[in-house]
Each structure stands twice: as structure tokens, then as C-alpha cells.
Subunit: 306 residues, 2 copies
Amino acid sequence: MGEEREIIAVNVELGCDERCEDCERFFECESEKKWEIYHRRRMALARERLKNIRWKIAVASGKGGVGKSTVTANLAIGFALKGYKVGVLDHDFDGASIPTLLGTRGKRLTLGENGINPVKGLKDIAIVSTGLLPQGEEVLTWFHDMRRNATEEFLADVNWGKLDILLIDLPPGTSSDAVNLLQYIPDLDTVVVVTVPSELSQNVARKSILLARKAGAHVAGIVENMSGAICPHCKNVVDFLQKGGGEKIARELGVPLLERIPMEVEVSKASDEGIPVVFKYPESEAAKRYMDLVEKLEEILKKGAA
Amino acid sequence: MGEEREIIAVNVELGCDERCEDCERFFECESEKKWEIYHRRRMALARERLKNIRWKIAVASGKGGVGKSTVTANLAIGFALKGYKVGVLDHDFDGASIPTLLGTRGKRLTLGENGINPVKGLKDIAIVSTGLLPQGEEVLTWFHDMRRNATEEFLADVNWGKLDILLIDLPPGTSSDAVNLLQYIPDLDTVVVVTVPSELSQNVARKSILLARKAGAHVAGIVENMSGAICPHCKNVVDFLQKGGGEKIARELGVPLLERIPMEVEVSKASDEGIPVVFKYPESEAAKRYMDLVEKLEEILKKGAA
């Protein structure tokens, strides 16, 4: 206890120059100011790095398992198919599935002279994901403690280069972390909220939209995923997860229902193969709806969403 | 800064009696010991409260949206139908859906002389959930800061009374929070891990099982949910989310695949109506599989899982 106080005295009281990122006593220092200073400089760096990216779209969902990452991966391919240069920042710590969805198995992030180099996936899409870090039982829980700072690290340290579109796959959840995260992304253009049709899912979708607004972000609208399943045998559409939830919440909160993506055997088959449905089965109903969604978003971005 | 140091001096240096829960300076106190002392006493209280509960089962899933809460709700009803007295602790902060699933709409938790009184749902099931606290935009992010302590609070403060079975619906995720949580539950009997068949979901299911083992918990096995969809028109079974993921992970980690629950229109219809499928549509295939699962778990518990 006595020793710690002495360190504070040395660092802060006897000449702190506020250059925390270079300070050899950074981890020992107990001054609360250090995080504030560190954060400010990291954010300035992030702003600098991200200014070569024309549009930034965050993909959110209150709860997991609604297909947020599948939507993100298909949007990425969709935009790439239209000739855009695309990057994806996968922010889902627990279930980082973007690497698998975009066919990067076996590749890992590398450190270059100008920071972390993204991994290149299908259609030359630049990908950064916690799933691209070394794996092992030791890292299972390691991330918990850096969650708050990981956004800063990712934004400040990745050498994205010049991109037309960066898609940010947000972690599921409606905690204050989610709000902070949205505030950390410099010049975010818009947020797409993914939900499923069941009534139970709408409370979290509502929270997601309210949080995006609280963070001052523009909300492009709602994508209702798993919206009716197409039986490959009889071709009937079956509402396994009920009907109308996305429309209800869109009307209630005054945001557009951008698209309904049906459940099709081709979607998860393509996902497991690491080639999103929009690329692998372009004739499927889901692929057509994704391309329609890409065009709607393109229009919103061109008009200047935020 | 100067004032705070004085408080430390008063509390710790000039006579701390280590009775933190009664200390009027608890929130001002900067001693790191206070949390340790507080935690130890809360856990002793939790142990006392939970000793009137015969069996405790945690329901886990690495990622959200796999139907963990639906499985929990159906297990609760299933055990209740067999004559057991059942309680459910809903630990899902972002998407607390247990209250809706077990038909408690409009009810709220109350504070009694012996602590927090659970809300009574269908079949007299005792329910405690963050979803039963007052709602409003203000509480959207409030919970974030109490997450770590909420487990303690819930376990130490709820007046469960005498129960045969307590089902604990764990939050999704594989962070260190999840490990802590498992360690906080005194005399946990077993853990059921819920997954869906797609390959993409198996990484998180694997993490979930590894974390449960790390926390020293017994793993009863895997429940594969949304395991084949039954088309109500042509009665064919369609594998919208692929096939065999649950079996693969069960074999790999040496745990039983306890049950496969199919996707049926009746399941989500019943969920949205607040009456789980096992109670509302007992003749459905899903309901039959749930009752089979209840019997398998009953056998494991009677043999003494942990």
C-alpha cells in the first residue's frame, strides 16, 4: 500500500508529462487521468485511420442468434459484387463467426509496420476479428478484461487502407458497452438492426434501436431475418418463428422495415461452407432479397445518412 | 483526492471492524478488502438460502438465440407436470424472456420480510428475473454495472423457500463472467448445454462446455434445439440449420447428446402466448421430446450427478 502511493507520487506529483502511451510506468500508475489521456489519443488515432473509409455501417441486434453475422457477411459480399472495396470489423467476442462465414479458415492477423493487417477473405474483403487471433483454451476468458478497450484497439491499430465500406458486426447485447462502442466509431454513417419475426425478440430489438439513438447514430432500418421458411419439398412458406414482429417494431419506432430474409436450406449450407448465400446461390430467394437490401442501403448512403 | 485519503484513514486505519454490510461508509470506503469481505458474507447467505433446494440445474449456451430460455421454460413446466416444485432464476440481462415464456406478464417482484419474493408463473413456478424489475428507458444500461454482483444479489436475497428443482437460465456468452457465475452457485448439480445443429454454432458450444468444466461443474449433456423443422404442410423434416452439429460436439468432448428438439410451428406460437409447448401442445413432437429430456435429467439427478 505504502509503495503504491510512492509510485503515484513519482509519476504524477513529481513530473507527469501526460504522454501516457510512452510512459514506462503506465501499468503501475494509479492516476485516473491516464485512461482519459490514453483514450483521447487513441481516438484521435482511430479518427485518422478511419478517414480513408468512405462509409461505415454498424450491424446490431439486441440478442444473439438472429443471424446478425450472416447478414453482415452477405452485405459484405453484396457490396463487393457491386464493385465496392469492403472491410468487415467483427466485434463479436463470444461467437466470432465472420472468419468462417467469409472463408478465411486457417488465416491469422499479422502485425505490419503500419499496424495490424486485416486478413483478406472472399472477394478481397478485409477482415479483422477476434476469431483471427491465436486460439486455445487460455484465450477463452482473456478477452473479457479488454472488451472495453478492444474497440479502441481495433479502431486505432488496424491498417484498413482505403475502403469504400466498413461493416461493423457489433456484439449482441444492450449493455452500456454497446452504447460506448457506437460512440467510439468516428463518423458512423448508419446502423442496421437485425431481428427475427417472433414477438419475444422485439423487446431486445427495441432496446437496440433506442440505444443507437441514445448514442446519436442514424438508424437505416430493420432487417427481419428467418422471416418465413421455404420448404424445399412442397415450396410452402412456413412461419416457424411467427410473423410480423419486424413490421410491428418498425411502425412503433418510426424506422423502415428494409427487408425480410427468408429461411432457406441454402442459407446455412452456404454459411457452413464459408461462402455466403448471396455468392454461392445467387438464384435463391434469400440471395435476391440480400441484393435488394444492398441497393437500398447504397441509396441511403449516397443520400448521406448521418 | 485529499478528502478520499482521509476517508480511507478513518475507515481502515482508525478502526475497521470488517462488518462491511452494516458500514455506513461502504460506498466511500476505498479498501480493497471490503469487496472480499462483502462477497464472503453474501456467499454464506446464498448457501444458507439455497440449502432448501434439492437440485440445481444450470442451462447454458455459448451464444444467444439458440432457444436456451425456451428449453429452460419447457424443462420447468415438464418437471412441474411430474409433480416437482420448481423455481427458475433467469440470468439473461439482455433478453430476459422467461417471464413472457412462463406467463407472468404484468407481475413484478416484491420485497418481503425475508428478502425478494419470486413471482409465481404457470404451474406455480417461482420466477426471479431482471425482466420482472420495473421497466423503462433508464434501466436499459443500468444493469451493466451490477452484472458482476447481480448473481450474488439474486442468490443471497431471494426467498425461494423449499423447492425440488431450481433451473438457472445462464446469460449467453463465454466470458469470465460466465465462469464466475457457475462458481457462485452453491452445490450446483449439473449443467445442460443448448446448441443448434449448424457447424458455426459448435465453437461456442464447445467453449461453453470447457468453461463449465473449468468451473468444476458436472455437465449432463447437450440439447440440440431447432434440430430439423417439421413442415406442417407436407410433414417432411427440413434441416434448415444443417445437421449433426450436436452429435459431433458430444462425441468430441465425451458428453451425451441428451435430446434433439425439432423446430415446429407450435413451439414459437406457444412461446409467444406465454404457455410453453410442453403444456400447450402436449401431442406435438417437440413436447414429447421435452418430456423425454425431463425423464433423462430426473434419472441423472436421482443418481447424484455432481
